[in-house]
Amino acid sequence: MAGLAASFGSGAMTNTIGDLEEADLFLVTGSNTTETHPVISTFIKRAVVLQGKKLIVVDPRRIVIARYAERWLRPRPGTDVAWLNGMMHVIVAEGLYNREFVEARTAGFEALQKTLEAYSPAAVEKITGIPAAELAEAARLYARAGRASIVYCMGITQHTTGTDNVKSLANLAMLCGHIGKPGTGVNPLRGQNNVQGACDMGALPDVFSGYQKVADENARKKMAAAWGVGRLPTFAGMKVTEMMPAALAGKLKGLYIIGENPAVSDADLGHVEKSLRRLEFLVVQDIFLTETAKLAHVVFPSACFAEKEGTFSNTERRVQRVRKAVEPPGEARADWKILCDLAARLGRPLAYADERAIFEEIRAVTPSYAGITYARIEEEGLHWPCPNEEHPGTPILHREQFTIGKGVFHAIDYRPPAEEADADYPLFLTTGRVLPQYHTRTMTGQTEGLNELAPESFVEISLEDARALGFDDGCLVRVASRRGSITVRLKVSPNAVQGTVFIPFHYAQAAANRLTNAALDPVCGIPEFKVCAVRLEKAA
């Protein structure tokens, strides 16, 4: 979420789930909301269907939420910066932008304005395939709405231009002043239940909890003192997408993986497996023997969410309680306990009486969590930042001013995706989730009923493309990219549009990520899962 942080000073959802219903218009892009964040989609659907609010969906697939939309725009995959610049071009050219807001609260407008000149709707149509008139109309709807909320997800971030895409969304919101009020904002929906919390807690290479920079000497001193250690490492930490190549190169020799299954979820899969195999020592701590755990030297059995106390922070920065309902199976232990047990053996004990004691330490060293206590969130979670125990929490960010002071416009030019459809690989592939499954299915795969609803991988294709290729619904096809190939069942669907096919990434047996491109966003290190070029052949 580096894009949002660069624009506003904070990378999190600016508004809350509940206040979505106050918007007059939604712009949903790169989010298959009904399948990946089903309960959030109910807020949007209610507003649209029962209160007559407007919805614009911009997505390469005709996803379910597009049924409720006033307008569905279909860009070619990987052209988000172009259509966003196009919308802003119209808004500036027609004087529909919020001058007052731009002058009072932002910086960098002139440079943006210059860049936008080249992005007339007609020029953008050539890049994106979105008809010029439709784009202009969508731009007017967004700009004129009393309150407009932007909702996005991995469809925006999982590109080599992911950071640019996010900055462009932030540009659009600032241009129209649709931020800092209920029913507005730029709202990234986090995919996994505690991604927000993992980031907040400093499970990132460059920051401690609360986004306190490791590079900042004062922060390092403060943490070292709190932790009772002499000094803390200063070298630049690697992102997961850098750790894998480092492992392959033999530079990273020992890896400790907790509750993740990168052997299935990583882009360009074959490469991850190879990297993990190169490690001198791999520890995996999980609730199941996942594909990744199978590569480990030591596997620790851990307790799942229902077997321990603690907190999760949801996509709207709300810190909520997790409670123990059942005992862990066999000798499984809570993840924190395992780490503490190991630390003791490594000569640097970490000792806590219980989860609450850990949370108290978090509060003590993390300003944005300082005011949150287990007692305060017994009934209802609080939104950080919450600096002290009297503070009510912060449902809406950037009300009076942005976290960084003035909001920053970024003048960004369109860059094509790392790979485009061509003669050899004529179709775009995009990947994503389906409603009944979750991530690599370690959890959902255990519920028979969910498997019954979504039993196997498939490639979703439009009727037109299927006909042109002479394939029947339900036949087995080989999908090949420059990196590999998988065999899956063909599913002709009205959700697909000509030229783009879709494969869910949940299934290890026919892992879509064998096909995807490991080309990374230079800032975020997020792989380009959402676009690559493929070819379909009859399965042998």
Binding site: T42, V240, L255, H297, N314
Partner: protein, 378 residues
């Protein structure tokens, strides 16, 4: 709030109200319990079941309090004789409208075993009701001393539909209150079910009267949670536990980032059912198919129960002592030989904040590496 406060009288108490509030809302706000069946929060009142009728002084007929706006100087009685008679009649008719055998031969709700015994004696179709002890209709029948039997029960007109993994639709136990229809259309907006047919043939149908599986139903289960009777129940929970036998533990969903608040219903150290926490933010009681039905993994026999140590191409079980010692030894050896820069930690978006915090502390303060990340980029 309006400039001058307005008041009405309910059961002898003078109560303030905001224009637009219904009698039911004012009563509930003041702790007066007017019983309802079809009323569903956050949806438009339908007044279909008429369970919430009250007597308004000066009015000729009883009125449905869920739909009647409060008015100044109104005088309302919520449990007058007339009201109680009307409710009893409604309950008797509802109980006779299908297979509501919970009150069979004077079963008084005190003992499930007694209920089963009476059912067996009664013969015929003796399937016990899975909602026994957790049914609003049954609860109200007890409250008003209604025992059924005044009208003879109607045999179910439609067979049970359960050709899907999660939800059983027992039309014989449906009282056509419409809560499920409202839940599906006005809360989840999945628009999968509606009222079909007319009069005595009335039925809640999906997609031209087809099974849920062949409709737009996405198995969010909102309708099940809304159903006041045993007409819609969770398939798995039917056999696992009866209402009342479980302990509820409130927690946060383990799947996506919405962070829905849910109650885990636990019996014998096992989760048997999950429901949304009514009224709690952010989800206000709603869940999706994963949050509601995807809990089998917790008690899966494939869960890891002991530490494993690699031996060649396979694993052997080990004690915690041995596995921890081995990990400590190997990590220390790498650190000493190649430096902390050669060690990394991948934490998880699925473990708690407390654990992520400990993981980064473990990386930085114990292993002394900044190579720590989680997999959300993937």
């Amino acid at each position: 709030m309006s400039q001058q406060t307005q008041t009405l009288t309910i059961d002898g108490k003078e109560l303030e109200f905001t224009p637009g509030e219904t009698i039911l809302e004012v009563a509930r706000r003041n702790g007066i319990d007017i019983p309802t069946l079809c009323h569903l929060k956050r949806t438009a009142p339908t007044g279909a079941c008429r369970m919430c009728v009250v007597e308004v002084q000066g009015g000729r007929a009883l009125v449905a309090s869920c739909a009647m706006p409060a008015a100044p100087r109104m005088v309302v009685a919520t449990e007058s004789e007339k009201v109680i008679e009307a409710r009893k009649l409604i309950l008797q008719l509802l109980l006779a409208s299908g297979n509501h055998n919970c009150l069979v031969k004077g079963s008084d709700g005190k003992s499930y075993d007694d209920y089963l015994a009476r059912l067996r004696k009664a013969g015929g179709n003796v399937q016990p009701c899975p909602a026994w002890g957790g049914c609003r209709l049954q609860e109200l029948a007890w409250r008003y001393g209604v025992t059924g039997g005044r009208f003879s029960p109607t045999p179910p007109r439609y067979p049970i539909e359960d050709v899907n993994p999660f939800i059983v639709r027992d039309f014989g136990r449906c009282i056509l209150c419409g809560r499920c229809v409202q839940a599906c259309n006005e809360i989840q907006v999945n628009q999968a079910i509606h009222f079909g047919y007319r009069g005595a043939k009335a039925k809640i149908i999906a997609a031209g009267d087809r099974p849920y599986r062949e409709s737009d139903c996405v198995f969010c289960g909102e309708c099940v949670q809304a159903c006041p009777t045993g007409a819609l129940t969770e398939k798995d929970a039917r056999n696992a536990a009866r209402p009342g036998e479980t302990r509820r533990v409130r927690t946060t969903c383990a799947y996506c980032g919405v962070g829905c608040q849910q109650d885990l219903h636990v019996k014998d150290n096992r989760i048997v059912k999950v429901t949304g926490v009514e009224g709690a933010k952010p989800n206000l009681g709603s869940l999706c198919v994963k949050g509601r039905f995807g809990f089998d993994f917790v008690s899966s026999p494939e869960r890891l129960t002991r530490p494993l140590i690699r031996e060649g191409d396979s694993f052997r079980e080990a004690s915690w002592e041995e596995a921890l010692d081995l990990a400590a030894r190997r990590l220390t050896a790498i650190k000493e030989k190649s430096g902390p820069e050669s060690l990394g930690v991948l934490s998880s978006a699925r473990i708690t904040n407390e654990e992520n915090y400990v993981a980064q502390k473990f990386a930085r303060a114990v292993l002394e590496t900044n190579h720590i990340d989680h997999c959300a980029r993937l």
